[in-house]
Amino acid sequence: MTEPVIKATDLSIGYKFRNKAPRIISTGLNLQLFPGEMVCLLGPNGAGKSTLMRTIAGLQPTISGGIEIDGMPLAALDPGELAKKLSLVLTERIEAGNLSVGEVVSLGRIPYTGWLGKLSDLDQDKINWALSATETTIFQHQKINRLSDGERQKVMLARALAQDTCLILLDEPTAHLDLPSRVEMMRLLHQLARRMNKAILLSTHELDLALQAADKLWVMKNDGSLITGTPEDLVLNGSFEAAFTKSGFYFDKSSGSFTIHQEPSSLNVHVSGDSQIVFWIKRALQREGITALENESADIIINAKEDNGALKLAISCNSEIATHTSIESLINALNLLKRPLN
């Protein structure tokens, strides 16, 4: 059994004040993070994700309990030693646009270089490796402010990799990114955890992506309690859903995604046919508040198939059959049916 990279025992986190009692955010935390694992820290805004991240990163003292990083108590590590075990990717935008990508990444070698920061061959190898692992080698000579947000974030990850630590903490690395960049970032992180045996902890609001990519989830609730486990277990036992309950939407266990609640409609519909088209029709129906029934004796039967690359959506209601060629016109037709039935 490998040793955990992060091991928190009976940890309390929060803010200490000079003259007042500390404000405790969360207490009794027992956490473990192993090499090769990617863990996503999820939770609603204000639950204390940042406080936990900052505490593990050593940027903020613990209230009580202990954290061990790579087998050493966090409090006993001096900044130089900690920098060789733990690297960070922060949400804050860096304000040094004049630096080239290569220069930013080489800053990751600061814990290893001498007083003037001269890079050895080994340092240069690590930098080149970090650039290629994050697919940023092509930007090497470009200024950091010429890059898109997604590329910039990959460079910041490369900097953390160049720091050559067993643990990487990322604070909302996918914030400000467009969807393809977010997926790309998650894929990259997961790949790094697996191939390089890194322990990766990231806080995120990307519930869908976290469910797909994370090896484990740490779900923080509004009351500060924290549940850990593999995504699938947490979904099936309902604790994932419980952490994010809010009126207006619900978590659909069968599709693994959050769905916006609509006023339920009285239409009862059954959809059959090509499974791919059926899936997307059901999505469209859901948005209209219509829940598709398994029952084939529903009032309205929709049969979907593809014919020479064109959609053929047959809708039969009261033995009247109409054919539509797009989901849009199908929905319009259903909305017309809604009114008389209501």
């Binding site: 990163a57 940027l59 900044p79 130089g80 030693e81 900690l82 920098a83 060789k84 733990l86 690297s87 960070l88 922060l90 804050e92 935008r93 860096i94 304000e95 040094a96 646009g97 004049n98 630096l99 080239s100 290569g102 220069e103 930013v104 080489s106 800053l107 990751g108 600061i110 814990p111 270089t113 007083w115 003037l116 920061g117 001269k118 890079l119 200024k143 402010n145 900097r159 720091q163």
Partner: protein, 349 residues
């Protein structure tokens, strides 16, 4: 981050410019001295005119050396402040550090009674110059510490600048009160000092100033790795093993020593500290302090030598105060920095 070929080429070009303007600065003045005679004097050979030797060795050479020291020292302290505060508008004169040094100087000149005028102190030789340097550096450190404390709470560049200007104003008011209760002859000395002059530093003082400025520059160059670490912000710097408190202290110390000692001897010289780092960054296109520190030294020196050449108005008997010339050249640069947001954005966003 090894200095690339183009950086080396630019730095070499600047070094050649420094030599060129250094010689030009020595050549030009109210008395015309032929170039070959200057070379002879500089290389220690005999010349026909004893007066020329005196002018070169006692007046023009020390003044040119002072210009080099001022150019290096103020530019480096400006660069350090801009990186430390992550603020493009930071500089020794803008954030009131020079005013703090002025307070230290006033404490010596105005409080010490009539015998403690700056010329009297200069007569004291080395010990007097140490006293005035120590007081000016302490004054700078005092203001810098206050601003550093406030900067911890304020992240807004413009607000910090306003606070800096206000602290500078408070410091100057304290000096004004002091002036109000001082003797006219002391006042005249102090006011002459505020115009700034590169010509007042001679003999021992030049040795002392060279030593102190070199020491400050050495500390600064030695902390270039830490300054680079700070480029990504304090949280990143800390995560890379930098001790922020100690780094701040070292930068504070070298900035105060550089600004304090230069201001003590040459008076408050404005706009060099804020303008030179911007010119250098856009010239070299980098934020790496291991290249920027030598870069600002060279650019600062060239600019100060040019200012000194302009100040002595070649061909006339008039000499302008150096502070006037640096402000005339430096203030437009600051305006250019603020207006061309691009230039500002490339380094600070």
């Amino acid at each position: 981050m090894a200095p690339s070929v183009s950086h080396k080429a630019i730095l070499t070009g600047l070094a050649i410019l420094v030599v060129f303007f250094f010689v030009l600065d020595i050549m030009l003045g109210s008395v015309k001295i032929p170039f070959d005679q200057i070379l002879k004097i500089l290389t220690g050979q005999q010349t026909d005119n004893i007066a020329w030797i005196f002018i070169i060795e006692k007046i023009r050479l020390p003044k040119a050396v002072t210009a080099v020291l001022v150019g290096c020292g103020l530019s480096v302290s400006g660069l350090q402040m801009q990186t430390l505060f992550r603020n493009p508008l930071a500089g020794p004169s803008e954030l009131g550090i020079t005013a703090g040094a002025g307070l230290g100087v006033a404490a010596v000149m105005l409080a010490g009674g009539s015998s403690a005028s700056i010329y009297a102190i200069r007569q004291l030789g080395v010990s007097g110059s140490w006293l005035i340097i120590a007081m000016a550096s302490l004054g700078s450190a005092l203001v810098l510490s206050i601003i550093l404390l406030i900067a911890g709470r304020i992240r807004d560049n413009v607000i910090l600048l306003i606070v800096g200007v206000m602290i500078g104003t408070i410091t100057l008011s304290v000096v004004s009160i002091w002036q109000y209760f001082s003797q006219p002859e002391q006042l005249q000395e102090y006011i002459m000092w505020t115009f700034g002059s590169l010509g007042g530093v001679t003999q021992y003082h030049l040795y002392v100033l060279s030593g102190v400025v070199s020491f400050g520059l050495l500390i600064s160059f030695a902390s270039s790795k830490a300054l680079n670490g700070l480029l990504l912000g304090e949280n990143y710097a800390r995560s890379m093993g930098l001790t922020i408190g100690r780094t701040r202290l070292i930068i504070l110390a070298s900035t105060s020593i550089l600004t304090g000692s230069i201001t003590a001897f040459c008076g408050p010289i404005g706009f060099v500290g804020i303008a030179i780092p911007h010119i250098t960054r856009s010239l070299l296109g980098t934020s790496d302090h291991r290249i920027l520190i030598p870069g600002v030294c060279l650019v600062g020196t060239v600019l100060l030598l040019i200012c000194d050449i302009i100040a002595q108005m070649p061909g006339t008997q008039t000499v302008l105060p150096i502070n006037v010339v640096t402000s005339l050249l430096g203030a437009p640069v600051v305006i250019w920095v603020i207006i061309s947001r691009n230039n500002l954005r490339s380094s600070f966003s």
